[in-house]
């Protein structure tokens, strides 16, 4: 249990996907103008991450990992090179399914998250978390914790950035620095804070 809490804590803070591994940057920098949108996107990310990481873990260990096909009598087969295409397929499929399920059973939630779901398919934080999970050889429970933690960490990071950008919207900056330029600098400062958490 203690290990799981450490794992979640690491995934949220010291190994934050957005600010330490720099994943999901396109969405992170482009859709962080308003706090409400950032909250919706962050929530969508948290939900999908918590679903896809354990799901990919299951797929990886029953089909792709070296020796995983033992039950078929193909024990020596190593399909792990296929993980890229399989993971992205699982992610795209679960995003679609979640979209449909939310539309059918929770339409207010779908209205809040709907626009962001398709965007997340090509977000590298999702694929990145699954690949890191495979690389670290986490088991199913650990990957559930890791998925939740990394999704939460990413949501936290985008909310922080959006809140700061809202404050800065009316500030008087040099022309070339406005918009994207200053966003990079703010993100850099945020990353610096998180990097500080890591070295203790």
């Amino acid at each position: 249990m203690h290990d799981l809490i450490t794992l979640i804590g690491q995934a949220i803070f010291t190994e934050n996907l957005a600010l330490v591994f720099l994943l999901g940057m396109c969405t992170y920098l482009a859709i962080s103008k308003r706090l409400t949108t950032a909250l919706g996107l962050g929530a969508a990310m948290l939900v999908i991450q918590t679903i896809t990481v354990p799901l990919n873990n299951l797929v990886f260990h029953t089909l792709l990992a070296p020796g995983a096909l033992d039950w078929l009598g193909q024990g020596e087969l190593d399909l792990s090179f296929l993980k890229l295409v399989v993971f992205i397929g699982v992610i795209a499929a679960s995003v679609q399914i979640l979209d449909i399920v939310l539309l059918r059973f929770a339409s207010p939630l779908h209205q809040a998250l709907g626009a962001f779901l398709p965007l997340l398919t090509v977000n590298c934080a999702l694929l990145g978390a699954s690949l890191l999970m495979a690389q670290r050889q986490l088991d199913l429970v650990q990957s559930l914790a890791y998925g939740f933690g990394s999704g939460f960490g990413w949501a936290l990071a985008i909310c922080l950035l959006a809140a700061l950008r809202e404050r800065l919207a009316a500030s008087n900056l040099p022309g070339g620095l406005q918009g994207l330029g200053i966003t990079f600098i703010i993100a850099g400062l945020l990353a610096l804070t998180v990097a500080g958490l890591g070295t203790s």
Binding site: L22, M25, A92, P174, L180, G181, I185, A191, L192
Partner: protein, 214 residues
């Protein structure tokens, strides 16, 4: 003539990283030292050329409704080949790049160019566009990596240019450059510089294009 434009425009005016804001993850994360950055730039360019060519050739047969998934599969197959080649011929570099080779699949430059260019243009122009965008991406990646490696460790490609204090020289390396935040700062300043430059070029026009775009 247009072929040349497709090739040259993305290098500066339509740069994928600083103007189109695509492919940021790897531009930020793999830019610590020059050698992996160079390999990464080559890998992205290779995948870009391959995916633009294949998608451009298939553009009349790809069904619209499942287009995205098919494009992702085409891109993913290219990335798997690159990944395996790197693991075989440059295992040490593949180790430092970790998951980032696989993440070329979700590098938005590749899908972005496929969607906005290769689907509407012939193979020759698509290749020109892919090479141009590849060079534009590589330019930013290598510039940032060069600055980070030189200031952070005093060397380029592992060759010492500024002898560090530890090795008995005079240069005190700035270790901040080796951490993630410096990549944000450098690209932020790079964008500032490029936009200021572009604004000066169009200063004669009534409204500067770059101002308040986003």
């Amino acid at each position: 003539m247009t072929l040349r434009r497709h090739l040259l425009d993305p290098i500066l005016h339509e740069n994928p990283v600083t103007v189109q804001i695509l492919g940021l993850c790897s531009a930020l994360a793999v830019s610590r030292t020059l050698e992996p950055a160079l390999i990464m730039a080559a890998a992205v360019t290779a995948v870009l050329v391959y995916s633009n060519l294949v998608i451009s050739l298939l553009r009349h047969v790809l069904p619209g409704s499942v287009r995205l998934i098919l494009e992702m599969t085409i891109i993913a197959s290219g990335v798997i080949v690159v990944d395996e080649v790197l693991k075989t011929y440059a295992p040490a570099i593949a180790e430092t790049l970790t998951v980032f080779v696989g993440l070329i699949i979700t590098n938005c430059i590749v899908l972005g160019r496929a969607e906005s260019f290769a689907l509407r243009n012939g193979p020759l122009h698509s290749i020109a566009d892919a090479v141009g965008n590849g060079i534009g991406y590589s330019l930013i990646l290598l510039t940032v990596a060069a600055i980070r490696e030189l200031v952070g460790t005093g060397s380029l490609f592992g060759v010492t240019l500024l002898p560090t204090l530890d090795a008995g020289g005079w240069y005190r390396p700035n270790h901040l450059m080796l951490y993630a935040p410096s990549a944000f700062f450098l690209i932020g300043f790079l964008i500032w510089g490029l936009r200021a430059l572009a604004a000066r070029h169009v200063a004669t026009a009534s409204t500067p294009v770059t101002r308040g775009q986003r």
